[in-house]
């Protein structure tokens, strides 16, 4: 098993342990359905050792420890800017009064826009995109009417796009020819840390 597999296994084991430990004496926050949201801003680390920004916002409903919703965001990957759209599920595995440790899983699709310079060996770039996966661990605490979030996790973003060259070359047999379209599938992996706020 890879390191990541062990990590995921440990995360879900943790969830199981903490669920057994909860009793009414901890203080329920109530079982009614409530509007849930958060706005998180942070950084992505990895790739060519550059750090760039990541912003997400998630909106949904909370039912006790479980919250589900839909989200969107903006991530920067060098010459590409990705707009992820995802489904989200969050579970509080440990609670202390109004604060909680949670695990959140985001998954969906990221639309990638090329914002780099056009150059001879990369021209006519089609906008790309691909699946996005983003498991996170975090801590949420109450501050007045808001909840402050601190979360860290892993983000995977696939980007599939195409481009061609923009060079004239005269000496091909029977040429010159237009260059072929090249299709690229790029898998990007980052360590993400985010800070933010929300309601509930």
């Amino acid at each position: 098993m890879s390191t990541k597999s062990y990590l995921l296994f440990f995360l879900f084991s943790l969830l199981t342990c903490q669920a057994v430990a909860q009793t009414d004496s901890l203080g329920r926050v109530g079982s009614k359905v409530r509007y849930w949201n958060n706005f998180l801003l942070g950084g992505l680390q990895g790739g060519h050792k550059e750090t760039s920004f990541s912003f997400t916002t998630t909106h949904g409903v909370r039912l006790g420890r479980l919250a589900v919703g839909l989200g969107a965001g903006l991530d920067a990957y060098g010459d590409w800017k990705v707009f992820p759209m995802f489904a989200s599920a969050s579970f509080d595995f440990a609670r202390i009064k109004n604060d909680a440790f949670f695990i959140q899983m985001n998954g969906g699709y990221g639309r990638a826009i090329y914002t780099g310079e056009e150059r001879a060996t990369m021209a006519n770039v089609d906008n790309g995109g691909g699946k996005m996966l983003n498991p996170m661990l975090g801590y949420r605490f109450k501050a007045d009417r808001f909840r402050i979030y601190l979360a860290a996790g892993y983000k995977f973003q696939r980007n599939t796009y195409s481009y061609n060259y923009n060079i004239v070359y005269d000496f091909a047999p029977g040429g010159p020819y237009d260059f072929p379209r090249y299709t690229v599938q790029e898998d990007m992996q980052r360590f993400v840390v985010q800070l933010g706020f929300g309601w509930h």
Binding site: K4, P173, D178, F179, V184, Q185, D187
Partner: protein, 447 residues
């Protein structure tokens, strides 16, 4: 006693430690193995394989055929009352031009790999890929191959032919579609838009739909499609045939017409394209300038000088003490200038530029008794009185627009002009009233 508060505290501690442990684990796992992006580059190609014909088969396939339509126009040569028109790669049309107003096609000499020609006396010389072939044209109803210098051209690959132990590539056949994949997205594949794959070439689907096998086996000379007159690679002077081959000039003794003998091979420079004989000199045009050789000793040309210019295609003609050179832009020429240069060659050892005239996209040119003809590409044919070399542009005699003009031979008051539309002949006996005599149309080949 284990109170509720104690249990709660323990749970908090456990959770905090767990979170810390997981965060560290996450960070280490990503830093160690997770942060390297993976990339896969793929593209689809149409794969073409070359079709070879052996040299023996090519040498035995020379035929004299009945006249047929002109499919494309290459070099032309005029001798006596006969017009010889090369059809690039296929052979030579022989046209009775006794009456330029009514030219009559007589024969088609099928010679595979023929792109240049010259005539001396009763002998026609032409290339056939790597060979020089001589034909007796004394009797046009009985044309015979009289001699062949095998493998005299050694730089045909520089013209775009592929000649190797298998023979000559005479066609390309589309075989299949292939997908090529690279794990490194920074890889730059073959820069000309295709890739050598196996024994052939692979082109993108878009390029494959426009691929012409005929174009792929026809050389680009750097001077465009190459027509006669100022764009020839062959020239006859002083009983010898001078031929450009790659960076060299090959001298052939044709004193005995039906017994050509290869003599000296002179290295000139890369990029040489055209040759023009004048008096006891040979003028060689190249992409970088004009080279002048003395052929007082015909078998031993001696370099006199080089006139350099900016990178361009440059046909040259000479009359009296002036050389006239056109420079043009275009992808094969890789130049940016479009102009006529008049060069004073009174002192051949030190040619001096006299005047520059801008043009649209000048190709071949010709001059006869100070009447200068410029083929200005899509801007048509222009005629000038060049008696005052410092005021050529102010003495235009005629401008024929709406035709694509590539090269001309002015001879004895008849101007033979080559363009993409075919062969045009003009009467310039009255330079103030140059008139069209005839037009031999091109009937493009249909696969």
């Amino acid at each position: 006693m284990d109170t509720l508060e104690n249990r709660l505290q323990r749970r908090i501690h456990v959770s905090l430690y767990a979170l810390l442990f997981l965060t560290v684990l996450l960070g280490i796992s990503v830093l160690l193995e997770g942060c390297s992006d993976k990339c896969q580059l793929t593209t689809e190609y149409a794969y073409f394989e070359p079709v070879y014909t052996t040299l023996d088969d090519l040498r035995s396939s020379v035929r004299v055929e009945a006249p047929k339509p002109l499919e494309s126009v290459g070099k032309i040569y005029y001798k006596g009352e006969t017009l010889f028109v090369n059809e690039p790669g296929n052979g030579i049309h022989i046209i009775n031009n006794a009456d330029p107003a009514h030219p009559v096609a007589q024969k088609f000499l099928s010679v595979p790999g023929s792109f240049d020609l010259a005539v001396k006396g009763n002998t026609l010389y032409t290339d056939s890929y790597v060979d020089l072939v001589a034909f007796d044209i004394r009797d046009l109803s009985n044309i015979r191959e009289t001699a062949r210098l095998q493998n005299v051209f050694t730089s045909v690959n520089s013209l775009g032919f592929i000649v190797n132990a298998n023979g000559v590539v005479t066609d390309w056949e589309k075989k299949k579609m292939v997908n090529l994949s690279e794990p490194d997205c920074e890889t730059v594949l073959q820069p000309w838009g295709g890739v050598y794959y196996g024994d052939g070439i692979a082109l993108s689907s878009e390029a494959a739909s426009n691929f012409s096998a005929r174009s792929a086996i026809t050389p680009g000379t750097g001077s465009g499609p190459g027509v006669g007159g100022s764009l020839n690679r062959f020239a006859i002077n002083a009983g010898h045939l001078y031929m450009l081959d790659g960076a060299d000039m090959q001298v052939i003794d044709v004193t005995t017409e039906n017994n050509p003998v290869a003599k000296k091979r002179v290295n000139i420079a890369w990029g040489i394209e055209t040759i023009f004989p004048y008096d006891k000199n040979i003028f060689v045009g190249s992409t970088a300038g004009m080279h002048i050789y003395d052929i007082s000793t015909p078998e031993a040309p001696v370099k006199v000088s080089t006139y350099e210019h900016v990178r361009s295609c440059d046909p040259v003609v000479v009359e009296g003490q002036y050389a006239y050179v056109t420079l043009r832009s275009g992808t094969t020429c890789q130049g940016f200038n479009n102009q006529l240069e008049v060069i004073d060659i009174k002192n051949l050892a030190s040619p001096q530029i006299l005047k520059v005239y801008p043009f649209t996209n000048p190709h071949g040119l010709g001059i006869d008794n100070t009447t200068l003809f410029i083929c200005d590409g899509d801007d048509g044919l222009k005629a000038f009185d060049a008696s005052d070399v410092n005021a050529i542009d102010k003495n235009m005699l005629a401008h024929y627009k709406d035709i694509n003009a590539t090269d001309v031979i002015p001879f004895d008051n008849v101007l033979m002009m080559i363009g993409t539309g075919g062969i045009y002949q003009y009467d310039y006996s009255n330079t103030s009233k140059i008139t069209l005599l005839s037009h031999i149309e091109v009937v493009p080949h249909v696969d």
